[in-house]
């Protein structure tokens, strides 16, 4: 491996100062002169026909600049990453409470909101379907004319029946997982401007500026080049800003008014209209031999994508791919349904379907271990994937596989080693302590069959610094800092000499999304290629300056040197000066295409993956048996990110992931009944607070270098929030003997489980 100066070291995040000092603007802070404020009229019913929309009274209100409806959408009245089935502004039908019907632009936010109340919409309510299994029945009301089953995945390998028959133990359960909310700091928001030539610029929280550009252009019927998207880092995303949120509304407002416009969703509107994690019902039957070898797994998943598809299709595929855990299982029958309902829309969310199935399969594995009297870590080591193994979908694990490394590091952690001692001292006699462990893998990249590519630019600036462009936006995970480190080591310069550009279609080439644990691997690889091209350009000029042949030029940190005559050197700064003098530019572009698995699953896209990150996590909990309250006292998180470009960054992801997975396991759920959201904001949607944090989260990085990755890196943004949830529920079982098959494991659910254990 190349020697590095920056990669692998704890580098201060490049956005740290701006964030700490508050100079990095939220969208709500960004304003332009003469700007109008937008507000969206949402549906009054979860399912209804629209008979009439009358905007006359709203238009007459003083201070209202424009009121737009479906008639004012010049291009395609639809958006959606996979299929554009969600109307920008509904014409004849609404399918959930978040559906948009009209858009107001006004002199102030208050006037815009007042105008919404003056828009008259005549509805004819339709019967609703709020349960995905019911939605699959022929008798169910149709959310979309095409049928309620949006996607169906079915994979069979081996002989499941035979395996169940010969198995020593079989465990069979049904699991339920909640509709987790991204709960980013700033809800979906943005600001847009338009110039005299009708060029539109949109600043917004987002995760793929070029796809935003495409979706906006499509809805406006406009050349994408006339639309510039700048995804800004403040506010966070977690997958919830992967889909279009406010971009098209902003574009429509500026197009129709020729004035800058701003939209900031309230938390309540975000809760109703925004994306969530897919709630899933998971049936799982798992068989094992007496020695703990997992023989077969039968899985049926029904996933509620709500009123529109967004990424629900790929999410169910991903869930199925990960539904046997990070284990070798030869006989599988896996089936998944992604179903439309009149509930809120579910889409991408950190983990992308792995969270739900990992909760199920990691509980199954613990149950099997219990039945066999086997150690919970041993059973995982025994079945865990190794390089060259065949995974559940029949695909070979060709890339780096660090599962065993993470399990072994977890085994050696203080928490695991001292577990009996730590469990023995609960806070009171009615409090019970337990420890839980779980592991998982996480496909990186978009998977087989989806175009997955990256591009990067590096340009020598007149002052000797380098402008580095990778479009994958910073959404808080620290990828831009990693890009700077990677670029500095490939260019061979100081990180202080890098000017990082990202998230902006105006200044960067399309590198795809900041999702799927993919941006560091993608951007890093594109940067490697770009740096190679940059070095050629530098060498040409350096050779001229040093009067040596180009082939004699070597690049060292900060300068070009003659190989044959090492005293002949010229600094990048000097090269930059001469570049300017001679009216030249020195730059390199790099285009990278993801490698994919050899296995082709006919009829499916997005599965399987080639590259996975791996992780093992441990939780120590204390359960109050009188109330059912669960406290996570300590956690250990052992990720395999490949090379940790910025170890401190990995720790940050790891700690944040643990808490996000803890919220998923214990408290978080967006409750929707009959299409109506009951948990309207953070008063009843229960996020963990600082007091709910474990006292200690230890992160142990277990690097299994990936040869195809930049300096050996894979990705780690998602895996960190996945196995911690079943580690916690497994710890609850270890503490007080109840299996939690439904999360969140709220105090009431744990207490009820405890009670039903007492009285069988």
């Amino acid at each position: 491996m190349t020697k590095t100066k920056w990669v692998g070291t704890d580098v201060t995040r490049i956005d740290a100062k701006d964030k700490v000092c508050g100079t990095l603007e939220y969208m709500s802070d960004l304003s332009f002169p003469n700007m109008i404020y937008g507000a969206v009229l949402r549906s009054k019913y979860p399912h209804a026909l629209i008979k009439k929309i009358d905007t006359k009274r709203a238009k007459e209100l003083d201070g209202v600049v424009t009121v737009l409806t479906h008639e004012d959408v010049p291009g395609l009245n639809g958006f959606g990453i996979a299929i554009p089935d969600q109307p920008v502004l509904c014409r004849d039908k609404v399918r959930y409470m978040g559906d948009a019907i009209a858009l107001v632009g006004a002199e102030s936010k208050e006037i815009a909101e007042q105008a919404l109340e003056l828009i008259e919409v005549e509805y004819e309510p339709l019967p609703i379907v709020d349960d995905p299994e019911e939605a699959m029945l022929d008798t169910s009301p149709l959310v979309h004319e095409t049928g309620n089953i949006h996607n169906h995945v079915k994979i069979e390998r081996g002989d499941v029946e035979a395996a169940f028959n010969e198995a020593y133990v079989v465990v069979e359960n049904t699991y339920f997982t909640p509709r987790q909310m991204h709960a980013f700091l700033e809800p979906e928001s943005g600001v847009a401007t338009i110039d005299d030539d009708k060029n539109i610029t949109i600043w917004c929280g987002g995760q793929h500026p070029y796809r935003d550009q495409l979706q906006v252009a499509r809805a406006l019927g406009m050349n994408p080049r006339k639309i510039r998207i700048i995804n800004t880092p403040a506010g966070g995303a977690f997958g919830g800003k992967d889909e279009i949120t406010v971009q098209i509304y902003l574009a429509l407002l500026v197009l129709h008014t020729d004035r800058p416009a701003k939209i900031v969703l309230s938390r309540e509107e975000s809760v109703i209209a925004g994306m969530k994690r897919h709630p899933m019902k998971i049936y799982m039957k798992t068989a094992a031999a007496a020695d703990g070898t997992i023989l077969a797994n039968e899985v049926r998943v029904v996933s509620d994508t709500g009123a529109y598809a967004s990424l629900g299709g790929p999410v169910i595929g991903f869930a199925i791919e990960h539904s046997c855990g990070a284990y070798r299982v030869e006989n599988v029958r896996l089936e998944g349904f992604c179903v439309y309902t009149n509930n809120g829309v579910a889409g991408a969310f950190r983990g992308f379907g792995a969270n739900q199935v990992t909760f199920a399969v990691e509980t199954q594995v613990d149950m099997i271990a219990e039945k066999l009297g086997m150690d919970r870590l041993e059973i995982r080591k025994k079945n865990g994937l190794r390089k060259g193994d065949i995974a559940a979908l029949g695909h070979k694990m060709e890339a780096s596989v660090g599962l065993l490394r993470t399990l072994e590091a977890a085994e050696n952690s203080r928490l695991w080693q001292l577990r009996e001692e730590l469990k023995a001292k609960p806070g009171a006699p009615h409090k019970k302590r337990g420890i839980g462990i779980a592991c998982s893998f996480q496909g990186c990249g978009l998977g087989k069959g989806l175009p997955d590519y990256g591009a990067a630019t590096i340009e020598l600036l007149p002052n000797g610094q380098f402008a580095v462009g990778v479009s994958c936006p910073e959404i808080g995970q620290g990828n831009t800092t990693a890009f700077v480190q990677i670029a500095a080591d490939y260019i061979r310069c100081s990180i202080d000499d890098i000017v990082m550009l990202s998230g902006d279609t105006g200044h960067t080439l399309d590198s795809g999304t900041s999702t799927a644990s993919r941006s560091v691997y993608t951007g890093g690889n594109a940067l490697k290629l770009a740096a190679g091209n940059l070095h050629s350009a530098i060498s040409t000029l350096a050779a001229e300056i040093l009067s040596v042949p180009e082939s004699d030029i070597d690049i060292e940190y900060g300068s070009a040197v003659s190989k044959s005559c090492p005293e002949k050197t010229v600094s990048f700064k000097k090269i930059a000066e001469l570049m300017v003098e001679r009216g030249k530019t020195i730059k390199g572009e790099g285009y990278f295409i993801w490698p994919v698995s050899e296995t082709e699953l006919e009829g499916y896209v997005g599965i399987p993956h080639l590259l996975y990150s791996y992780i093992t996590q441990i939780a120590l909990v204390e359960v109050n048996t009188l109330t059912g309250e669960t406290e996570v006292l300590e956690a250990v998180s052992v990720p395999d990110p490949g090379k940790a470009i910025n170890p401190q960054g990995v720790e940050g992801q790891s700690e944040g992931g643990v808490v996000m997975g803890m919220g998923y396991a214990l408290t978080e759920d967006t409750i929707i009944e009959e299409g109506i959201t009951l948990t309207r904001n953070f008063s009843t949607y229960i996020l963990p607070t600082s007091l709910d944090m474990p006292c200690e989260i230890e992160t142990i990085i277990a690097e299994e270098l990936e040869p195809s990755g930049p300096f050996g890196a894979k990705g780690i943004g998602e895996a960190v929030c996945v196995p911690i949830s079943p580690a916690i529920t497994n710890a609850i079982h270890d503490a007080c003997g109840v299996w939690m098959k439904q999360i969140p494991a709220t105090p009431e659910r744990v207490y009820t489980a405890l009670k039903s254990k007492e009285v069988p």
Binding site: S108, Q114, E629, E748, T752
Partner: protein, 290 residues
């Protein structure tokens, strides 16, 4: 949007004048932690708000006389939780105030606001119940004193007439022989509205032996309630962990909870019993102290 008038009176007389002038179109705003939520959610609308932050008569925590502590309505939860006087003579209230919301909410939210909102889940209220506090109300016709138990008429309903306001609460001091606890069960450790809360005060006559027992529950009935069945069952009995468990089970008899998004009726009933039991257990394990 039409604006909202905010008046900042400098005295109680001025406040009363404003209340009479505006009538039901105005609301008092203290910390605003309940009221602003209602405004934002458009649950209510007023033409004017009367900010009582600068009214000296509703401020302060002091000894009213040798037997009583007086807490001005405008006292914040943070002030009450850290007051030595309250911690010495009514620790159960200090304890309850310390568990309200978060530091920000405790710095803004007031005891007057907590009482006037009249939520069955208001955290100071069970403590005030077991302290047998009284509410000092002032209105156009002068002041009146209402025992805390008579103040509430239902969820968000109290005996406060439109032009009246809460001046403060009067609390009989507890001497050193009294022990107490306040415990709330929330959905998380802070920023949690009580699923059930319990306040307990009793005179400790020896390990496990309590008299003058007072138990109040929050969030298990339309208003906070005193649980007299359980009080009688504990009073004068020699308790050990077993009997404590037994008597705690009587708590549900005084509870008529509802099911909502935070918890079911059945869970609330059981939690009333169990929180009391848990509290008694901790008292038993440290009642050597009394």
């Amino acid at each position: 949007m039409t604006g909202i008038n905010v008046a900042i009176p400098k005295s109680i007389d001025e406040t009363l004048e404003l209340l009479e002038k505006w009538g039901p179109d105005a609301a008092i705003i203290a910390g605003g932690t309940d009221l602003v939520v209602e405004l934002k959610d458009k649950l209510k609308s007023w033409k004017a708000l009367i900010d009582i932050g600068c009214v000296p008569e509703v401020r302060g925590i002091r000894e009213a006389d040798s037997n009583h502590v007086w807490i001005g309505a405008m006292s914040t939860h943070a002030e009450i939780a850290s007051s030595t006087l309250v911690r010495d003579t009514a620790p159960v209230l200090a304890n309850a105030c310390a568990q309200v919301g978060s530091p920000q909410i405790r710095n803004r939210g007031t005891i007057g606001g907590n009482i006037s909102t009249a939520s069955p889940a208001g955290d100071t209220i069970p403590a005030l119940f077991v302290l047998e506090a009284s509410v000092e109300i002032i209105g156009p016709k002068g002041t009146r004193i209402v025992p805390i138990e008579s103040f509430f008429q239902g969820p968000k309903k109290s005996v406060l007439a439109p032009c009246e306001m809460v001046l403060g609460v009067r609390i009989p001091k507890l001497d050193k022989e009294y022990i107490s606890f306040f415990r709330k069960l929330g959905q998380r450790k802070s920023l949690a509205i009580s699923i059930v809360s319990v306040a307990f005060v009793a005179k400790c006559q020896g390990p496990g032996l309590f008299t003058d027992v007072r138990v109040a529950f929050g969030a298990v009935a339309p208003t906070v309630i005193r649980a007299r069945t359980v009080e009688n069952a504990i009073c004068g009995k020699q308790l050990d962990p077993k009997t404590a468990e037994y008597v705690s089970k009587l708590a549900f008899r005084d509870c008529v909870p509802i099911t909502d998004v935070r918890g079911s009726k059945g869970y609330r009933e059981q939690m009333a019993c169990n929180l009391l039991y848990e509290g008694l257990l901790s008292l038993l394990s440290c009642s050597e102290a009394c």
